[in-house]
């Protein structure tokens, strides 16, 4: 009984990081109607950011997360101007393909430089033991940091001028432009923010699991599932979606062979897309 509970709690802890990754994806989708298929590459970028900073500069892993987030932001803005700016407003296929091509280029460069070997960021933290089950410190800290970042995002979007501008552009770009908001710049900053969130989640994942240049794909797919669960465009929903996915994984692991879990995830994904495309956690009523 407690084994199951422990599994669920651990699943939820890891799930929060999935939620963080998905928040970046869903923010970009909500603001500019673009599904960032370079999301996986950005998660990997975050992983390698932490790795390089700890490996070459000797920074403690958690100190590397901040710089990675900032770097991710600038990479995101750059990516916007290169791949996304010209395809805003064009049919969805165009933005899907342009971001995917960026993904191909980045992953291609990554494999050329680092190959497909496993990398690891050595982190050890004391865990919490409860009734014989240990919750690793890294999982707990990752969840706590995710909560802090999510809270920060909420405050930013609701109380900061730029955050409100982002929401305005996301509601109605023309009206925002008429109100004097420089929408193109806001879009680029929003894209940068979304990518920064993806990089940060990658940075956190690097403290949890080993990774390769190709790891991004799996997390990108998980991000899709979480984003759909939470409703595209809804960052709070994405966090809850992540927790739900983590819960699902935690619940399933004691009973089902691990290899069946992706099957369940993708079936849930397709079913939710068909039955509730607005997501399960969409608390705002959008007209």
């Amino acid at each position: 009984m407690y084994g199951i509970l422990a599994s669920i709690i651990d699943g939820v802890l890891v799930g929060s990081v999935y939620g963080l990754a998905a928040m970046g994806l869903t923010l970009i989708w909500g603001v500019m109607d673009v599904i960032n298929l370079a999301h996986g590459a950005m998660i990997v970028a975050g992983m390698f950011g932490v790795f390089l900073l700890t490996d070459s500069l000797g920074l403690p892993p958690y100190a590397a997360i901040g710089p990675t987030m900032v770097l991710g932001f600038f990479v995101g803005v750059l990516l916007y101007w290169i791949a996304v700016h010209r395809v805003i407003g064009r049919p969805a296929l165009m933005s899907l393909l342009s971001t995917f091509s960026a993904d191909m280029v980045l992953i291609g460069l990554g494999t050329a430089v680092w190959g497909t070997v496993l990398f690891n960021v050595p982190v050890s933290l004391p865990g919490i033991t409860w009734r014989g089950y240990t919750f690793t410190g890294t999982h707990i800290l990752a969840a706590v940091l995710t909560a802090v970042i999510a809270g920060g995002l909420y405050l930013f979007l609701n109380y900061a001028r730029l955050g409100k501008a982002i929401r305005a552009v996301s509601d109605n770009r023309e009206a925002a432009e008429l109100a004097g908001i420089p929408t193109t710049q806001v879009l680029s900053l929003a894209f940068g923010l979304g990518v920064a969130l993806a990089c940060t989640s990658g940075a956190l994942i690097a403290t949890l699991f080993p990774f390769t240049v190709l790891s991004g794909g799996a997390y990108q797919l998980k991000s899709f599932v979480v984003t759909v669960l939470g409703g595209l465009g809804n960052p709070a929903g994405a966090l809850f979606g992540g927790l739900a996915l983590g819960l699902l994984e935690g619940l399933a692991t004691p009973f089902i062979p691990v290899s069946w879990i992706p099957v369940i995830e993708f079936v849930v994904f397709v079913v939710v897309l068909i039955a509730a495309p607005r997501g399960l956690f969409n608390f705002r009523r959008r007209s």
């Binding site: 599904i35 280029v105 495309p277």
Partner: protein
């Protein structure tokens, strides 16, 4: 267009000629290396042409199109290896089964529009891939090795490879003919209307849900047969090869590169892309940059040349639009 009217269009005969040429070229001098290259090219052309039915005509981006290819391969290998069926029957059955599944799935996911549909097709591909990885009767994650005896009814391995080559080229030719026939039919007109503005098409009486399900199913048949033949030839199938999402998206690149919505476009795009890819893979310095260059190429097309190569050709020489569709 009445069924036999297609025989009077010059473009149809161009397709037939090209297909025959494709089939005969490696026969000169028993050029096995060229044959292997052309098999790959033919497979890509088949995938791209059928994908074009969804992307170029109906305007629905099927990101997970490779699932048809992989499932066709699995059904065929299972039928041949475990139940001892002859190749032709197994391949066609693979096509039929996958088409039927596509129709049933299509009824569900074709209700979605735009990017939601694209994501759903990825979900379907990944779900099928993950399922097959766990499905022991189909070899699970390690796949199925086909026994060499399966080549005996075809006259031994050497002879069989040639026979399979001709069958794959035939499937390629059929894909092009199907593409052309649909484009010139009332069905195709309806699809193009759906692609341009689905709601307007509905209002004008186009039975969109039925047409969409039909074209989704039709776009599954020949890739499934191609998959059946390809994996039979390889004598080995595993989930990571069968449901390779990268190849699925490369098929989209081929369609975009050549020009979506045309018949020649996807074929041209597939051929050019395959040549580019194999050249990159065999040049030592560039092999690790294959993805980078393909990605860069795709980005340039999307940003500056959305009509692809054929789009550019048609604009530059307007007369070609009537003959080279």
């Amino acid at each position: 267009m009445r069924p036999l009217a297609i025989l009077r269009r010059p473009f149809f005969w161009l397709i037939v000629l090209a297909t025959i040429a494709f089939a005969l070229v490696p026969l000169r001098g028993n050029n096995v290396e060229l044959r292997e290259e052309l098999i790959l090219a033919a497979i890509y052309i088949t995938l791209a042409s059928n994908l074009n039915l969804m992307i170029g005509y109906a305007g629905y981006v099927n990101f997970g199109n490779i699932v048809f290819f992989g499932l066709g391969g699995y059904v065929c290998i299972y039928l041949v290896n475990t139940l001892g069926w002859p190749l032709m029957l197994a391949a066609l059955s693979g096509g039929a089964v996958v088409s039927l599944l596509a129709y049933l799935f299509g009824l569900g996911i074709l209700r979605l529009r735009g990017a939601y549909f694209a994501l759903a097709t990825i979900g379907v591909n990944e779900a099928v891939s993950a399922f097959v990885s766990n499905f022991e009767p189909w070899g699970g994650a390690s796949g199925i090795y086909m026994s060499i005896e399966a080549y005996q009814p075809l006259g031994g391995a050497m002879q069989a490879l040639w026979t399979i080559y001709f069958m794959i080229v035939a499937v390629m030719g059929l894909s092009l003919v199907l593409s052309y026939a649909i484009k010139r039919s009332k069905f195709g007109l309806g699809l193009l209307a759906i692609g341009q503005n689905e709601d307007a098409a509905l209002v004008l009486g186009v039975p969109a849900p039925r047409y969409k399900a039909l074209v989704y199913s039709a776009s599954a048949f020949l890739p499934a047969v191609a998959g059946a033949l390809f994996f039979f030839k390889s004598a080995f199938i595993q989930p990571s090869d069968a449901f390779d999402l990268t190849l699925s998206i490369e098929a989209i690149v081929m369609v975009m590169l050549g020009g979506q919505g045309t018949v020649v476009g996807p074929a041209l795009g597939a051929f050019v892309y395959e040549e580019l890819r194999s050249t990159l893979l065999t040049t030592a310095a560039l092999s690790s940059l294959q993805l980078v260059i393909s990605g860069g190429l795709l980005l340039v097309i999307v940003l500056f040349l959305p009509g692809g190569l054929m789009g550019w050709v048609h604009r530059r020489w307007p007369g070609t639009a009537r003959i080279l569709e």
